[in-house]
């Protein structure tokens, strides 16, 4: 389903009432580092700060019923489909501008703790491959469009290893690997994507995929070796997400809007069960206690 025309969209919104307006908040409580990406899921706001509970190296699927808290965007609407019509956002911070805010649908995550952070041997992930069923975890059939990134839940004491192997199954179930070595930062702060920032071999926000890969159906293994192994009791999270939309935030307090009806491609889809989360690129060092506000209107039909 979807909208067959502008007339159909207007009818669904104004006659049938199939739309919802939302405002979401996050407060970036820890100062971020210039040039880094941040997973805002670790910060409190309209959804609580996520703890990314689970067993290390075991995939945890997430949807709009996630215990850590997920944006309630109106429940299931199948056989209709939900789509963003516009979005806006602003952030208030003494430093860090301009920013780039990304909305993603987090299909699941892999907690990484203890020796799985500090170790240098290959780590095998336990995960049931994403299939093409009606289950919420399969909302992107066979993982089409899904991307992966790491984030920091608890900062390691020191280090700076390289991601020398990142293995996955593509949408056809074929074994694939990241084609480049990816460097991790020495002491990424809470929320930081450790493979971002201004240094060689940092690729962000997504871990690069092999040529031709259109998505990830299964996270199979990774290796953090070379460079300097992490020390301490850091905790990382490996996220599996579908990018939805992005918007630049230009200066403190300046609200940016993005029209998604007249864009091409238009009206990003919100699948039933979507677990919408936020990522932020910091041009400068975003100051602590910076509030982010994001608004959006979506409709279904």
């Amino acid at each position: 389903m979807g909208f067959s025309s502008h007339d159909d969209l207007i009818n669904e919104v104004t006659t049938n009432g199939k739309s919802q307006y939302d405002i979401r908040f996050k407060t970036i409580s820890t100062a971020q580092v210039a040039g880094f990406w941040t997973n805002l899921g670790v910060f409190a706001g309209s959804e609580p700060a996520s703890t990314y509970a689970g067993t290390s190296l075991t995939f945890v699927p997430t949807d709009d019923t996630w215990a850590d808290g997920a944006w309630q965007h109106g429940g299931d609407v199948s056989t209709d489909t939900k789509h963003f019509l516009y979005a806006g956002a602003n952030i208030i911070a003494a430093a860090g501008a301009p920013w780039f805010l990304l909305a993603v649908d987090q299909v699941g995550y892999v907690p990484i703790t203890g020796a799985d952070v500090t170790g240098t041997a290959s780590r095998t992930i336990t995960m049931t491959p994403i299939a093409a069923t009606s289950a919420k975890v399969d909302r992107y059939p066979n993982g089409v469009g899904l991307r992966a990134f790491f984030s920091t839940e608890v900062a390691p004491t020191a280090g700076g290893p390289n991601l020398t192997a990142f293995n996955y199954l593509d949408t056809a179930g074929a074994a694939k690997s990241c084609p480049v070595t990816v460097g991790f930062a020495a002491t990424p702060v809470i929320g930081a994507v450790p493979h971002s920032g201004a240094a060689a071999t940092r690729y962000a926000p997504w871990i690069p995929l092999a040529a031709g890969s259109t998505g990830i159906s299964d996270l199979t293994s990774f290796t953090l070796s070379g460079g300097t192994a992490y020390t301490g009791s850091g905790q990382l999270v490996l996220h599996l997400v579908k990018p939805l939309w992005g918007i630049p935030l230009l200066a403190s307090g300046m609200h940016s809007l993005a029209d998604m009806v007249n864009a091409l491609p238009s009206m990003a889809k919100i699948p039933d069960g979507a677990c919408v989360q936020w990522m932020l690129m910091n041009t400068g060092a975003t100051t602590a206690a910076a509030p982010l506000m994001a608004e959006s209107l979506h409709a279904w039909g």
Binding site: G35, A94, A97, P98, F100, V144, G145, L146, T171, P179, V180, S196, G197, A198, A199, A200, R202, Y203, A204, P205, W206, P208, L209, A211, G212, S213, T214, G215, P243, G246, P248, L250, A251, S252, G253, M254, S256, N262, A263, L264, P265, S266, A268, K269, M281, T283, G284
Partner: protein, 297 residues
Amino acid sequence: MGFANVAAWANSEGAGRSWPAFFRKVPASTATIAGQWFDYSTASGVPVPNYYAASPLVAATLEAEKGIYVPEQNGTRWIKETIVASAAATVTGTTNQNQPLMLLDYLLYYPFIDLDAAGEEQVMDNTVTLPRYADGVGVEMMMVAQAPTVGGGTFTVSYTDADDVTRTTETVFCAAAQPSGALVQATGAAAGVSPFIPRLGRGVKRVNSATVVLANGGLAAIVLVKPLWMSYAREECRRPTSSPTESYGDAQQIQAVRNRPPQEIKAGAFLGWVGKGVAGSLASAPLVGMIDTFWSE
């Protein structure tokens, strides 16, 4: 292959054939000259700086993954949209506003041309040839300072054009003293800064030699590039800490198909921006943004 129609283009997103490439480049604190073009590939940030480090006068290529990184694909890669913004160097800085920007595919470079060697023809080694746009059509030359220059010099370049005709440029003026990363050349007069060295013909296949006529000081690379896309950083992003405490800023979003035709990114392309400091120096002013891409089936 490309895209049969608008639907095929738009469906790339849902089919997972999309990749966003982000960049954040911060020029050094040494001032650039008003009106001067600057090569952001040489600036620090994301991706890491490019120093044009190779054997003097020997043609060399740059590695794609060290430019703005778009993973290689089985199909052809195309620019879906670009978003650019420029952060002010200080809360009161405005010299990076109204900045024209040009996205380039960096094809081949000839490093360490001695801009003091007046009267000496510096002959290039062309063992390595154009890796993309091999016929040279649409390929331009730009001279990038690899060390601070004194300025005020002149030079000529002998090159082979896209029709295999050997040509020599007019006498090209160098702009005033400039830092590493600045584009050296002017056209006709020292004040008329141009991003590219003036040429005849349909493009440049290779550089044969460079001759400094009037010493300019410093070292430079001649870089062969293919312009891909234009953008514009209009108002710098900043918020003063004293009156008026108003926020300023702008980002320019340009979408392929809606705003201009899609532009292909060839396999192996090294992507980077050059920008013109119309309102003044670009020093310490970060250029940030995204090149979002699609690829075909």
